[in-house]
């Protein structure tokens, strides 16, 4: 009887240890990925109509990023709410600059470009909000001159 209980306890503790280790490893990987999630707006300008802006972004970090939000809104106003969608994937190590077409809200000379991105390996296309806490938000000043 004692042997049977011991074996059961041993199996239970072993499976707990494996599960706890896996969770810790997963958490650490996500935190490291967040540390090295960097996004750079290299250049941005408005389209001729002014309803969209072309935003060129690159990634000096270590992990490929996926941009889930890109809005251009008037400075001083509240950031626009927009559902997450995939605007583009930005390869790591500045290897490529990616043009994004982002909607413009409001009118006036001064704007913010606001981007939200998370590492690709943490992104679930079916559930974009999953792991959103490990994302990075970037703002860029944009001045409309016509």
């Amino acid at each position: 009887m004692a042997v049977a209980i011991g074996i059961v306890l041993m199996l239970v503790s072993h499976s707990w240890a494996v599960s706890a280790g896996t969770r810790s490893l997963d958490q650490t990987n996500k935190e490291v990925a967040q540390q090295w999630s960097l996004l750079l707006v290299e250049h941005a300008f408005f389209s001729a109509s002014g309803s969209t802006a072309t935003v060129y972004v690159s990634n000096p970090g270590r992990y490929e990023l996926v941009v889930l939000r890109c809005v251009v809104y008037q400075r001083g106003s509240s950031p626009q709410t927009a559902s997450f969608r995939e605007y583009g994937r930005i390869p790591a190590n500045m290897s490529q600059v990616v043009p994004l077409t982002c909607p413009v809200y409001g009118s006036g000379p001064y704007y913010f470009v606001e981007l939200f991105a998370i590492p690709v390996h943490l992104y679930d296309p079916r559930e974009p909000l999953t792991n959103a806490q490990y994302g990075v938000t970037v703002r860029y000043d944009l001045h409309l001159q016509r």
Partner: protein, 383 residues
């Protein structure tokens, strides 16, 4: 063979002890060691990220537009203390901001520059045939951007005049009906064209910016109002050395610029789990400084002490700091990347004392100081 009750209990105790030892050594101890190694990895990554940020802010690059024969070149010189890699060059129109060429960057080859070294980048193809004002932007591998002066191009080349640089002079808050004259006088062998510019203000608080073509040299810029010298204290006349400085501003506004407090934002995880076998937990902390929107001028951050962050609760914190950044009203910048080492189950309150971060107003020269800020990291135990 018969066993007594005490004998059976003894065997059960021995078996239980054996399984306890097996559970401890086969499951708990490896878990503990594994968790410790994960925290060591995370701590190492946090440090590497800090070093990356310090390197990034140490980069310094001078960008100069040169016409060599019929080719337009950028001369890029690494004037910082560390090597850097130029990964892209952008050319864009002043005004619309649209790129030259229209489909993206101008130059995409990597160029490694050691401290003190320089390179020429041929950008003729990008601006071929273009006439108008253009600026060039150089992007480095660590994600910094450095810009050239605004240059006026004619058919993709600098004007075939002896004036390769543009000195802009802005007169702000002019008085309606008065005539303003700007005179640019070379103080050495520099050349300028035209030497004077006259404008009559047709509205109250009107602003105007004019451009003078110059060669490299030192120039005195003087403002006259209705043909009389305008007394603006040490703001008139102004002496500029081109190409180090290519802009002069005469602000005629009667509003005196006053200093405002810089706002400090501490960013850290609000909650940290401590215990569960690890003796320390390292969490990243970032300290940002924001120039309030009520500020009347841009501010350069001149001093950030490395011990700007205090922590209570018996914990430790170490920071890498950066200064020299320009802040415009309502803009925020990172001034310190820190690592907070949690050594006990006490909450950690991070504080930045008022007055430790110093900035300097770009127009007034006034000193700007930070207000105090604090942030508490809740530490909860894990059994």
């Amino acid at each position: 063979m018969t066993y007594t009750y005490r004998g059976k209990a003894g065997i059960s105790s021995a078996v239980a002890a054996l399984f306890t030892v097996v559970i401890v050594f086969a499951a708990l101890a490896p878990t503990l060691l594994f968790t410790q190694s994960l925290y060591a990895i995370l701590s190492n990554e946090v440090n590497e990220r800090r070093y990356f940020e310090v390197d990034r802010y140490s980069e310094k690059l001078d960008v100069l537009v040169l016409q060599i024969g019929n080719r337009l070149n950028l001369k890029v010189e690494n004037t910082g203390p560390i090597s850097l890699v130029v990964v892209r060059v952008w050319a864009y129109r002043i005004g619309t901001g649209s790129t030259l060429p229209a489909d993206g960057p101008c130059y995409t080859q990597s160029i490694t520059l050691n401290p003190g070294s320089e390179a020429l980048i041929d950008v003729s193809t990008c601006v071929q045939g273009h006439t108008g004002y253009v600026m060039f932007k150089v992007v480095t591998e660590r994600g910094r951007q450095f810009t050239s002066d605004v240059v006026s191009l004619q058919n993709g080349m600098l004007p075939s005049s002896p004036y390769p640089f543009t000195l802009t002079v802005s007169i702000i808050n002019m008085q309606r009906g008065k005539t303003y004259t700007v005179e640019v006088t070379p103080l050495d062998d520099g050349l300028v064209s035209p030497r004077t510019f006259t404008h009559k203000a047709t509205a109250s608080n009107e602003n105007v910016t004019v451009a003078f073509g110059t060669t490299a040299g030192t120039f005195r810029v003087t403002l006259y109002e209705n043909n009389r010298f305008k007394d603006l204290g040490d703001q008139n006349p102004q002496t500029v050395k081109v190409p180090d400085y290519t802009a002069v501003i005469f602000d005629l506004g009667r509003i005196a610029i006053t200093s405002v407090n810089l706002e400090v934002v501490i960013m850290a995880p609000p909650r940290v789990v401590y215990g569960g076998g690890q003796s320390v937990v390292v969490v990243p902390v970032s300290v940002y400084v924001k120039l309030p929107s009520t500020a009347q001028e841009p501010v350069t951050i001149t001093s950030v002490p490395s011990d700007l962050l205090d922590v209570s609760g018996g914990h430790q914190v170490s920071c890498s700091v950066a200064s020299g950044m320009d802040l415009y009203p309502n803009q925020m910048t990172l001034v310190a990347s820190c690592a907070l080492t949690i050594t006990s189950g006490n909450d950690a309150t991070l504080r930045v004392a008022p007055g430790v971060i110093v900035g300097e107003g770009q127009y007034s020269g006034l000193q700007y100081f930070n207000s105090g800020a604090s942030f508490t990291v809740r530490v909860s135990g894990r059994s």
